[in-house]
Symmetry: C2
Subunit: 375 residues, 2 copies
């Protein structure tokens, strides 16, 4: 099944690109980023729910600071490498939303982070994982805080039942860890029409797990949910914290899902048309820039706000191939075009820096501080 945005969805837009870009480059519109951040923060403030954005989307200390200044409680990271980058930058409150396996190398890194970061916590989804973490931080000056991961239906990581959640919490306590709460990720909401149900799954599953932990004497002050598709539907009931990430930058997938408005797409890849043929053109953004990330309900690998009839049909490493439908408007050779990628997170991870355009039109280069920190 493939999906084309319905007529009720606003057309994708992107601000004018700065001139003289040496393509391909990732371009970030700062006003849109700030608006995306303020929109979620305002809504969560109204609901009394803390925001802990996932920084794997932008991997940028500067953008994380914008989120904290807007009112975020702390940040979420997906790897110890990301945590180390943000810790080195002075951020003091972070949660590794991943069941890190604390072998010798990662155990030492967790211990160092736990000692350096004022508020540091890690996800766990198994008894063995909890025991490993306990060994890694044994003898530290305070217990390491963990959150037990619950599977809300994504069938990835996370325990599958409230009883299993309680079992992991008890093992963590025995291992000398502090059980600070529970968390879920409603990634099974990444399909058209699926977001509301996935958010409800998160709330329901977390509520049941919290009850199981309470019956074993655990407080679970943090009940953390979320993904960008479920950021509104999962921010309800017993949930105390929201961990959306992609919302800050937006992408084609979130736009099609209705998770962000069309003017919420804050990042595009600037590319140059390098070749044209009868009914076809090629841009200099390939799989090493746009990535081959494509949900099976989406057609193509990127959209052109200025040319709504075109998508990237095929990607090779440095070639993005577009088939031009008969009669469609298309750019000419040498033209620099903005392309909104399907999924922004892996795209950002490919580049060392992004071109940031501020509201006053000024242009700056911001590093992708945690690029490549995938472990």
């Amino acid at each position: 099944m493939t999906t084309t945005p319905s007529a009720t969805v606003d057309a994708l837009s992107f601000p004018a690109l700065p001139g003289a870009l040496d393509t391909p480059r990732v371009v970030v519109d700062l006003a849109r980023v700030e608006r995306n951040i303020a929109r979620l923060q305002g809504e969560m403030d109204r609901r009394g729910i803390a925001v802990r954005p996932h920084t794997k989307t932008h991997k940028s200390v500067s953008v994380a600071r914008l989120q904290l200044e807007a009112g975020a409680r702390g940040i979420t990271v997906g790897t110890l490498g990301e945590a180390e980058v943000f810790a080195a930058a002075g951020l003091t409150d972070m949660f590794v939303a991943y069941p890190v396996w604390a072998d010798a190398a990662k155990g030492a890194r967790i211990r160092a982070l736990h000692e350096a970061v004022a508020s540091f916590s890690v996800g766990v989804d198994s008894v063995a994982g909890a025991e490993r973490l306990g060994v890694a931080v044994a003898g530290g000056r305070r217990p390491l805080r963990i959150l037990v991961e619950i599977d809300p239906g994504l069938h990835r990581t996370g325990v599958g039942s409230p009883d299993a959640a309680a079992e992991v919490a008890l093992a963590a306590k025995t291992a000398g860890l502090e059980v600070a709460g529970i968390f879920s990720h409603g990634g099974h909401g990444y399909r058209p029409g699926g977001t509301a149900d996935a958010g409800a799954d998160e709330v329901r599953t977390l509520t049941a797990a919290a009850a199981a932990l309470r019956s074993e004497g655990f407080d679970t002050p943090t009940i953390s949910a979320g993904s960008t598709p479920t950021m509104l539907s999962a921010a309800a009931g017993a949930v105390t914290e929201m961990r959306a990430g992609t919302y800050a930058y937006g992408d084609r997938q979130q736009w099609v899902l209705g998770a962000i408005p069309a003017e919420g797409c804050a990042v595009a890849v600037a590319a140059t048309v390098v070749s044209v043929a009868d009914g076809r053109l090629v841009v200099d953004a390939g799989a090493k820039m746009l990535t081959k990330d494509r949900a099976d309900w989406l057609t193509g690998f990127g959209a052109f706000p200025a040319y709504p009839d075109l998508v990237i049909d095929r990607l090779n490493d440095y070639h993005g191939v577009v088939t031009i439908p008969p009669g469609a408007s298309a750019p000419v050779i040498g033209e620099v075009v903005a392309i909104v990628p399907n999924h922004i997170c892996p795209v950002i991870d490919l580049v060392d820096s992004v071109v940031v355009v501020a509201a006053d039109g000024s242009v700056a280069d911001w590093p992708v501080d945690a690029r490549g920190r995938s472990g």
Copy 2:
């Protein structure tokens, strides 16, 4: 259509991983790389065809030097950024196999490369592109050499007819460029059973274009073809040069295509099993390590040589999800496993360095020198 390797294909293998890896890490077996390089060089030497390997696969100065020491004439690159890295390392013979659009920024970079590199040439597939290149290098101490790109049926870049090739060559000559030859890329051979025909397409199309150029007075000393699937079938007839790239490292796709032997897979991603559930496991190599590159004739996103019944079914940024078929052998939580990626080129581009294991068992860290140089 999905393809499983037939029983006649040797099972995928990978040497033992070094101990104490902080996963995920890319691991390179040097003996296999050297054998892959020697195998192609030996065959092309027998045929009297020059080897100009595409370095976008490894992006490594050290591996490029192994290829040159084995007898390669020079290297191929896909971007000016790659050319700049290899030029800075002292390599003196390189071809940019891409129709670079020489705007102000890229024009200045081409001019600098042309002046710094003893033998430097660039692809062209349009009159406008040739004119741009002529402007960029006007007044230089010697003419820039170009190769006209021919489309052998991939329908990506490249002119579509011998007449068009002659037209571009004439425009290049008028623009003050030296027409050094022609080239093609038989990427349409990336499907089971398609490689021999695609290679023949390259030979046929290049032969016709060379004739058209000769009738206009051009010599075309370089007739360059190739991809890893077509590296043998396109190395024939009038072809003088072979530009395969992936052959040096190998990957699951090339193995399924029969383009490399099973023991030709020289690179794997080492990952740790971080979560197990009934019928499922998750490794810490996700889309930001394995990439979502997957041909539609291939199932899954990576293979486990030690567990032949398993593939990576789903990828999120940091999660690789495996469904365990009933009764299949599977790794346990905490186990470090080798995963052979579908397509190695974009995987290498995600990491700053690789772990290289030499034949004597010694382990070194080699930088991915041209990582991220996508333009």
